[in-house]
Amino acid sequence: MSAPLGRTAGRTAPWHQSNWDLRAAGNFVFGGAGTGLVVFAAIGYVFGAAYVMPALIGLALVGAGLLCVWAEIGRPLRAMNVYRHAKTSWMTREAMVAPFLFASGLAAVWTGYQALVWAVAVLALVYLSCQAQMIKASRGIPAWRNPRIVPLIMLTGLCEGASLAILVAAATADHAYLKWLEAFLLALVLARGLAWYAYRSGLQHEGAPTRALAALSRIELPFAMLGNWTPLVLLFIALASSSVNVIFWLGVISALAAFGSGWLFKVVLITRAAYNQGFALPRLPVRGTGSGGPAAKPGWH
């Protein structure tokens, strides 16, 4: 039998990384949403909303994300080795925060102590920022290493968290502070929308693989339009309304759109827009005589 040669041999233009798939995306999808939810569980706690449900769901999501990672690594039985490089590795740091996050989270859920609740929220934010930094440190993927990915990842995590908090509140009929959550979400989708444009213009400016830019353009509609600007308008209307139904339904729809688009964005970022650097030559060589040739950077915008 003959190996299918395919078109992957001798690639010079950027191609999509194949090491991190949906399982790795899952880490950021669930981890981002989960930590965001834990933060908003704490905020809700201040407003007198129930803490246990959103906090537990948030922690469960973070746990699911970590399970995804564990399912992806080549040597899962050696997983504990992940702790050996806190000095520079954001993956180590993320792993280090996790046990503290879970321990304090469960303690906060069990005891209800305010200080613990805030500590958990802080740890959740730290965890979320580790995730964002982890992506940024991936110098081999132009769409990931742009510094503007950090605020974008963090903001989408918080958006998703706020959205899930709205959905939990809606589901558990904990409507008292629904409007507050919607206000937070409005601010966050606005910030996330701006962060998105800042990120994309950053990529245009620095240069990025053509196909990576194309993959991101393809989610302009579902992410920016339907996931940010539509909820922005709907939330505005909801906040301006006094109708319980309007507040409820527009809140729920916005929440679904905001967190769904956030997950879409992260899946696309990891599995569709993650074109690598490719290869480039600033000059072509002189072959005996002449001046060689100009630069070659196939597949780049």
Partner: protein, 908 residues
């Protein structure tokens, strides 16, 4: 950790650019790695390295699809659709079957009713298999008449016209620049970076860094074009137009002083006077060609001393003109021009403006290139080599396949030889050199093959065309001695005849020609004509008609699919053989040493395979030829003679000797030769050291000193001898009523005019009933270093790394042209000619002419394991074996007009 690690020295001769040297790392008896023979860097002009092909030898050795024991066919039907249903048998039974067949044949007589040898044998190109078949050549020599006519592409698709005309004009079986010192190379499709071997690649890299400029002129930017200073996309098969335009410019737009006038006058046939019947004017008494001596203002024989020959002018004289078949004219007061004068006139129409309309290159470029060539020529300069002062002319011209074979090959090789002659740049340092001889003898020394012939030019073993001696009844099926006088009569001559004729005439005999019979027995080894020749579907049909085929097999393949017996040999790293290395040899193998190298069993042979030498010995014994076989070995039929002036390691002719014994004696003879008798170490020494050499003089690289010493001129520009040969050959053929070689006879011209070479292929396409606009593309092929010479088609490692280079396994097409046709990169396209069709993924590139398609290498396998699943396209099933497309030397070219259409989207 391996317990035992050995590094075993070997040679690699998988292609004619070698042999090169290497070592195999063997860990606990398993071959794991190929490496260069680092010590050999002292003598090997390529740093002791071996190329990518050699690294496939580990997978070749352990290929699970190898035939590991003799096989017998049980399906009496033969053909692509008939599985042979081979069953394993023992060696005794296998050798019995083969030798009974041979004995049967011998009893009937070695020649059949048509006078053709009953036994035929086909081996792969360039003599490569000879160095893997042990002493089998000695068995064939002992046997007697063998027909080597059934080719697999050698002699036809190779650098054919260059072989013949090159040997005629400067003992150049192949031609090469003097790369280490040249400064300017015009390369018309010569793919040195793919086909030049290790030494070629090494030398050209050094040359580039040194500042040598190579201009690559070819329809697509090959790996050689990539590594050149400039790429010029010439229209296929129009190279002669560019070359003719260059000659025109040198003669009509540049001052005569730019040429090497003293050289032209003294060392070429340029001053020879030409008569009204186009033959030389001769002194009636001595019959020597005449020149016009300006000093005494009269005609004198060419070899008269102290003359100043006229190069141009019109003269009146009394002289004898000798034509063909003894026809003569005695002229009084005849008007005559010099050969050079005729050349000048002949080249007048070939302006760069004319050339542009033919080859699609702007006149400015042709003028600039010619200027650069002249500027680099250093006419008048000298250099000292080993104490001798020689002309230094660092300019050269290389021609590739499809340029130097097929119609137009003669014109290209003529112009390419003429241009250096105008500048004194032929066979001198820096210039254009021949590499070795295979038609002239001895094969071991070009210098020794130089002998004074008629008219002050080199002698040449032309096959006779006079009435008494012409071989009217061909002795072998490709009729080389009958049809191609230039093919000479050396052991290589059969393979240099029209080796497609044997296949063609089996299907349909031409008029007034004796029937081409099938051989009673056909040996085939290390060659695969069902893949590597043309009209491959028909080749399979012809092979299927052969009654008895013995395939020395490595794996099943498309040719031994029709075999009756498969005999599995020990492959490259499992058997013993010695080869000559060094001196000067094909492609770019120019050494400062010469000697011998060994290949030896690095690992135990797999399965029940046998060393080819032992197989040969067994066959000899079983056919009653043991004595003749051993005698042949003693005389040097396998590598080198065992008996010489001062040594005798000869085998006892009456005894069966083992491979080890035979090669031990060969090694002793080799050691004796290399050390001038000081030592005669045998196999054990070579097993440890791998090779043995002695230094040689670099003067061996250059032939001009030998010509000068013997007072011989280069037979340039006027081909009077060829003119006569052509007329005589025509007379002989017409006496037999044969007219189907008449077009070919038109190539025998003293000063060749340019002909519309692409038009020949176009007219043939139309003659086959096609509309040219349905076949708008020129399909060409190019060498792949990774796959060249076919050994690696079934090797996954090679397939994998070859995939890093664009074009492998696909069809290269100009990107813009492809998009006009709605074809995207990777789309499956069908390419069809009037012969057949093939398909594969489109590879869109900028570096190819919009009117040209490229298929790299030779594939489309259907039986060879691994290769058959690659589904790589090949042009061979699209190219015809055709009389119309065959030139006078019996070659054709890898070229055909094709149509293209998209048949599917890119595979996911």
């Amino acid at each position: 950790m391996a317990k035992s690690v050995r590094k075993v020295p070997e040679y690699c001769y998988q292609c004619v650019a070698g042999p090169d040297l290497l070592t195999v790392k063997v860990e606990d008896g398993v071959a794991t790695e190929i490496e260069p023979n680092f010590r050999a860097a002292e003598v090997h002009p390529g740093g002791g390295k071996c190329c990518v092909k050699a690294y496939g030898l580990v997978q070749k050795t352990y290929n699970p699809d190898r035939v590991l024991q003799p096989m017998k066919r049980t399906n009496p039907k033969k053909g692509r659709e008939h599985d042979p249903r081979f069953v394993p048998i023992g060696w005794d039974e296998a050798l019995d079957i083969v030798s009974s067949k041979l004995n049967e044949i011998r009893a009937k007589g070695l020649l059949d009713q048509e006078g053709y040898p009953r036994v035929a044998a086909s081996f792969g190109g360039g003599g490569v298999p000879t160095y893997y078949m042990g002493t089998f050549p000695a068995f064939l020599a002992a046997w007697g008449a063998v027909d080597f006519s059934f080719g697999s592409g050698q002699g036809v698709g190779c650098t054919h016209s260059e072989h013949m005309y090159g040997e005629l004009w400067h003992r150049a079986f192949t031609v090469c620049p003097d790369t280490p010192s040249t400064r300017y190379v015009l390369s018309f499709g010569a793919n040195a970076e793919a086909a030049g071997g290790v030494i070629g690649a090494w030398r050209h890299a050094d040359a580039r860094v040194r500042g040598m400029k190579r201009v690559q002129i070819e329809p697509h930017i090959s790996v050689t074009g990539a590594a050149s200073a400039e790429w010029i996309p010439i229209k296929p098969k129009t190279d002669a137009a560019f070359l003719f335009a260059m000659v025109h410019l040198m003669l009509h737009e540049h001052a005569r002083e730019r040429l090497d006038i003293p050289f032209i006058k003294a060392h070429t046939g340029s001053p020879y006077l030409v008569g009204p019947h186009h033959y030389f004017l001769r002194d009636p008494r001595t019959r020597k060609p005449l020149i016009w001596d300006l000093t005494s203002d009269r005609a004198v024989p060419f070899d008269q001393l102290d003359t100043d020959p006229a190069l141009e002018g019109a003269f009146k004289l009394d002289a004898l003109e000798v034509g063909a078949d003894g026809q003569e004219w005695m002229h009084r007061g005849v008007a005559a021009k010099t050969s050079f004068g005729m050349l000048v006139q002949h080249m007048l129409p070939y302006t760069p403006e004319w050339a542009e309309s033919v080859c699609d290159i702007v006149p400015g470029t042709i003028r600039r290139i010619t200027n650069e060539y002249l500027d680099h020529a250093c006419v008048g300069e000298t250099i000292e080599i080993d104490g001798e002062v020689l002309a230094f002319r660092p300019v050269s011209i290389a021609l590739g396949r499809t340029v130097n074979n097929g119609w137009g090959g003669y014109e290209c090789v003529w112009a390419r030889t003429l241009i250096p002659c105008l500048l004194g740049a032929l066979e001198v340092p820096g210039g254009t050199l021949g590499t070795t001889v295979r038609l002239n003898r001895p094969a071991t020394s070009r210098q020794a093959s130089v002998k004074m012939g008629p008219d002050g030019f080199m002698d040449y073993p032309m096959n006779p065309t006079d009435f008494e001696h012409w071989q009217s009844s061909p002795k072998v099926r490709n009729a080389h001695a009958t049809l191609v006088p230039l093919s000479a009569n050396s052991p290589w001559s059969q393979s240099l005849g029209p080796t497609h004729f044997a296949w063609m005439f089996r299907k349909q005999s031409p008029d007034h020609w004796k029937k081409v019979t099938a051989p009673d027995l056909w040996f085939v080894y290390r060659t695969n004509p069902s893949i590597s020749f043309w009209d491959t579907a028909e080749v399979v049909n012809r092979i299927s008609e052969f009654p008895f085929v013995v395939g020395f097999a490595y794996t099943p393949d498309e040719t031994n699919w029709m075999a009756d017996i498969l005999l599995p040999e020990c492959t490259d790293l499992e058997s013993t053989q010695l080869i000559r290395i060094g001196g000067t040899k094909f492609i770019e193998a120019f050494w400062d040493h010469e000697g011998f190298a060994l290949r030896q069993p690095a690992v135990k042979p797999r399965g029940d395979t046998r060393d080819f030498t032992d197989i040969a010995t067994e066959l000899a014994a079983r056919t009653g030829l043991l004595e003749q076989y051993n005698d042949a070995i003693n005389r040097g039929a396998a590598c080198t003679a065992l008996k010489g002036k001062d040594f005798d390691f000869g085998l006892d002719p009456a005894v069966k000797h083992t491979s080890e014994e035979i090669w031990d004696r060969m090694c002793r003879a080799a050691s004796t030769e290399v050390t001038d008798g000081r030592t005669s170490e045998g196999l054990a020494w070579y097993r440890e050291h791998g090779y043995r050499t002695r230094p040689i003089s670099r003067l061996v690289w250059y032939l001009f000193p030998e010509l000068r010493k013997q007072g011989i001129r280069f037979e340039m520009p006027y081909q009077e001898r060829l003119l006569r040969v052509g007329v005589q050959l025509g007379n002989r053929l017409h006496e037999q009523g044969i007219k189907w070689w008449d077009t070919q006879l038109t190539e025998y011209q003293a000063l060749p005019p340019y002909k519309d070479f692409p038009g020949i292929w176009e007219r043939e396409t139309v003659a086959q009933g096609c509309k040219l606009e349905d076949y708008p593309f020129w399909l060409i092929t190019a060498r792949s270093m990774q796959y060249a010479w076919g050994s690696n088609v079934g090797i996954p490692l090679i397939d994998e790394v070859a995939g890093n280079l664009k074009g492998h396994r696909g069809i290269v097409i100009n990107a813009r042209r492809a998009r006009e046709l709605g074809i995207e990169d990777g789309d499956i396209i069908e390419v069809r000619s009037y012969v057949g069709k093939t398909h594969g993924p489109a590879v869109l590139r900028e570096g190819i002419r919009p009117d040209t398609l490229l298929m790299i290498g030779q594939f489309s396998h259907w039986a060879t394991p691994y290769a058959k699943d690659m589904k790589a396209p090949s042009m061979n099933s699209l190219v015809a074996m055709s009389m119309a497309l065959t030139d006078a030397t019996g070659s054709s070219a890898d070229l055909v007009r094709v149509g293209v259409r998209r048949v599917g989207a890119a595979a996911a």
